[in-house]
């Protein structure tokens, strides 16, 4: 198992989990999601290959109402 800080919460995931798998778990629709891993934006076409490591910080960001 690895520990990843996901949107500010420390969570445990299985080894070799990919960004794509995490997004599928937490997002109803991945269309407007942006993934930022350790402050670097990970392009959508890389989600499938990008495996997370222990201690990674992942932010999943989307659009919300705002002025």
């Amino acid at each position: 198992m690895i520990k990843v800080t996901l949107n500010g919460e420390v969570k445990e995931f299985s080894d070799n989990i990919t960004i794509k798998t995490i997004i599928e778990k937490y997002c109803r629709n991945s269309e407007n999601i942006v993934a930022e891993l350790n402050r670097d934006i990970i392009k959508r076409d890389k989600w499938q290959d990008k495996e997370l490591a222990d201690g990674d910080v992942l932010e999943l960001i989307s659009f919300m109402g705002g002025g």
């Binding site: 996901l6 949107n7 500010g8 919460e9 937490y26 997002c27 109803r28 629709n29 269309e31 407007n32 999601i33 942006v34 930022e36 402050r39 934006i41 392009k43 932010e59 999943l60 960001i61 989307s62 659009f63 919300m64 109402g65 705002g66 002025g67």
Partner: protein, 261 residues
């Protein structure tokens, strides 16, 4: 009748000069209803972490594709954070139009003008179309012109306060002195405030709280749209100056008292 010309940003022609903010709405369906009733062509949205505990509707599902999205950098406390948010927005495929909103103060929510100038400089260099939200200050506005902003967005009064054009005199100075479009943002509480801003020569008005928190958001959005149009038309018509004495609107001589002296 004077024919208005569209407001143009980034080659996009805007004929409706009401910009709509999408925060604070009771339901995202109301956002769609307001877009429709007002005919707005520009909508602001924000970026946030998704909620891990529940699936959320995405605001963009309620915004038709032809609407121009302006992503605000709310949550940013300095220029670097604003840049980070803008880059994320761009990566999501939407964020070329950025409303720079840098706020450090939690009581008055006043924008940090200095960090806003820095953020504008950085964002313009990266090819963003930048709309900085500022406290109306002439020197700051001039610096933003120099930095390559697309417009300046001075606050009318405190965000969400519905107090109208408390900063009206300073906004008027920006309109007179700055070559860029001036878009009045924040504090616009009722349609007459919006009309006033447009009569002063503002190029557009951004409204969020007043519409979003009204009993009937869609009706108020329509009312704002009409007020913006009325104010714009009045500005173009160049109404006469205020006088401090009377000026008769009916002839006072030549009828009842004809020939009497």
């Amino acid at each position: 009748m004077i024919k208005d010309t569209p407001l143009i940003f980034d080659g996009k022609e805007l004929n409706n000069r009401l910009f709509l903010g999408t925060g604070k709405f009771k339901s995202k369906k109301d956002v769609a209803a307001c877009i429709e009733s007002s005919g707005t062509q520009v909508v602001t949205v924000a970026l946030r972490r998704i909620d891990l505990n529940r699936y959320e509707d995405n605001i963009l599902e309620y915004v038709p594709k032809e609407i121009n999205l302006m992503v605000n950098t709310s949550g940013a406390r300095n220029a670097v954070e604003a840049l980070r948010i803008a880059r994320i927005a761009k990566d999501a495929g939407y964020g070329n139009w950025i409303k720079v909103e840098v706020i450090n103060d939690s009581k008055y929510l006043l924008p940090d003008n200095q960090e806003t100038i820095k953020a504008t400089e950085l964002l313009v260099k990266e090819g963003f179309i930048v709309f900085p939200y500022i406290s109306p200050d002439l020197y700051v506005a001039r610096a933003l012109v120099k930095a390559g902003a697309a417009a300046v967005m001075p606050l009318g009064s405190f965000i969400g306060s519905n107090r109208g054009l408390r900063a009206g005199d300073f906004i008027r100075a920006l309109i007179a002195e700055i070559e860029l479009p001036v878009i009045v943002d924040a504090g616009i509480g009722v349609p007459s405030h919006a009309a006033q801003a447009m009569e002063m020569g503002a190029s557009a008005v951004l409204v969020n709280t007043a519409i979003a928190t009204a009993d009937s958001a869609a009706s108020l959005a329509k009312a704002f749209s009409l007020a913006v149009e009325a104010g714009r038309m009045a500005y173009l018509a160049k109404p006469p100056a205020k006088l401090d004495h009377a000026s008769a609107s009916s002839p006072l001589t030549g009828f009842l008292f004809k020939d009497e002296k």
